[in-house]
């Protein structure tokens, strides 16, 4: 077993844990987005680690990293679009006040 791979994956696990805590515990939409960004960063670390230590010759591994970066950008754009609309109509993006979204 390669110790570097385990270290990199552990960092990914740490980022995932922190991000999950943040996404669940924060009340503000923007802060929740930050938690999601951390979770995606964890995915990035894992993908690069798998590429480097298991399949360094297969470039599809690096391509997946680019796709995840795309997902990060899209998530930010759509999230902020929703945040702007919500802020305009309700005056806040606090998720505790978004009870009407509950089905």
């Amino acid at each position: 077993m390669s110790i570097e791979l385990a270290i990199a994956l552990s960092v990914g696990a740490g980022l995932f844990g922190v991000g999950l805590y943040g996404a669940l515990s924060q009340t503000n939409l923007v802060m929740i987005l930050m938690g999601v960004e951390l979770i995606l960063a964890a995915a990035l670390v894992n993908l690069v680690a798998f590429w480097r230590y298991l399949h360094p010759d297969v470039m599809a591994g690096q391509m997946f990293v680019l796709i995840v970066m795309t997902v990060m950008a899209v998530e930010m754009a759509v999230g902020f679009g929703i945040a702007i609309v919500r802020f305009r109509s309700r005056g806040s993006v606090e998720m505790e006040e978004a009870r009407e979204l509950k089905g």
Partner: protein, 174 residues
Amino acid sequence: MSVSIGQSLFLIFFGAAAVWFGVVVFRTHSMVRSAIALLFSQTAVGAMFLVMQAEFLGVLQIMMMASEMSVMAIFMVMFMMDPGGLGAMDMTHQKRLSLWAGGIGLTFALAVIWLTGWGPAAQAAPAAAEQTAALGRELLGRSMFVFESAGLTILTAMVAATMVAIAPTEEHGR
């Protein structure tokens, strides 16, 4: 077992920095500090890519996150009730549940990582210049469809987010 001490040490250093800045994001009260801490966490992740010899991806990550997180910072200032954090108000809910969820996720992932036999590690990665060229061939060759759909997704998201966010005016709206 292949151990390259320098690589492991740098991975530990930047990894610890990434996780620590990630924790700072949710511990500080100042919203701009929170966004900048997330930026430095992502930059440390980019530095980890550089340590793992993925030069293009590392530089790209460091570049993209600088702009992304700066935009994050201004949204924080716009939408928060107390962006400077001088009031030190608490903005969390279901804290115990979240801690448990994060902790269980972390423990589970760590157990999987350290209990799995990952097989032998690859020794050498291709040189940076070859890697960049090979990535380009991959993107515009075998994986072109995936790459193009990612581009299309970004375009759609840009248009949709702009449409949603434009203020309704007198002549066209409501």
